[in-house]
Amino acid sequence: MRLRARATGFAWFVASALFVVALGLGVRAWAATRFFQYYTCNFDKAVGVDPQPSGLGTINVDPKKGALVHCPIVSDDAIPHAGPNAEITVFGHDQGPLAEVSAVACVTFASSTGFFCTKPKSSGAAFTGEYAITFKGPFAKKYAKDFPFVDVTLNMANEGNTTSLRGLTLSGP
């Protein structure tokens, strides 16, 4: 009887431990994406930034001047910007087929004066709708101790079209 009680106790121990591990890993996987709100960004030539209920912002772009958005990215051990599993994504919405959005993922060197930037990426052929510009493992294993940022350039081909930038995410392993 005592053996059986011990076995039952052990089963409860194992079951509850496994449950907590599964729950913890699930939460961790969900939490391994970090959103960036636009109050952390610097704007150049943007017409306006409308805060959204989600906390993200929609940036209205001047049709004549375009806009440049410079967004520093917070990176740490929990969600690092370096490593092959890191992923930086710029989300937005084009409302006209003549808009052009390009982004570049960069780091500012922490202890010397300079930077490294990936090749620029664009939202692709002109279209109307949602877009996501993704940089997968943008810095490979390098630049772990440097400061990441994204520069997004939004241009309009002519007046009457608008484009919006919804947010940035950094995803980690």
Partner: protein
């Protein structure tokens, strides 16, 4: 031990396991970067090595001429705002080195960051390093010869 007691212990053990598992990737990344990277030395050494590699590339005449023109025009359009001078552009077969000069260190520090997005149409990575004075070298690594 009661069932409730065993379950509480299990929850605690599970919490500890999650905490340990969570630390593993960070530890691996930290260990790797600590071993591989002394940022000061690494960046300067890597940039010097990159400059040497590009300088030793053979010249592909057509690509070199076209890229030199594109890079020079792109940088010169930024020059008034950034208060720099394009001292030299040397394009080889897959990469270019541009040497930029400012009048003062203050001007250089204020404007070098804008060069990150100065050439958005070129499919090249860019690495810039400002030396102790007022000169920077910008390396554009394009991997392949393409028509632009």
């Amino acid at each position: 031990l009661s069932r409730a007691g065993a379950a509480v212990l299990g929850v605690l053990a599970g919490g500890v396991a999650v905490a340990l598992l969570s630390r593993l990737p960070a530890r691996r990344a930290g260990a790797g970067s600590a071993a591989a990277e002394d940022p000061d030395r690494t960046h300067a050494a890597a940039h010097a090595a990159l400059l040497a590699r590009v300088a030793s590339e053979p010249i592909a005449p057509a690509w070199s001429a076209r890229m030199t023109d594109l890079v020079t025009r792109g940088l010169e359009s930024e020059a008034p705002r950034g208060r720099f001078r394009v001292a030299r552009v040397d394009c080889r077969s897959t990469a270019c080195i541009a040497t930029l000069e400012w009048r003062s260190r203050t001007d250089a520090l204020a404007s070098y960051g804008a060069l990150a997005h100065a050439l958005p149409d070129l499919p090249c990575t860019s690495e810039l390093m400002l030396d102790a004075a007022t000169t920077a070298t910008l390396v554009l690594a394009c991997d392949e010869q393409r028509r632009f």
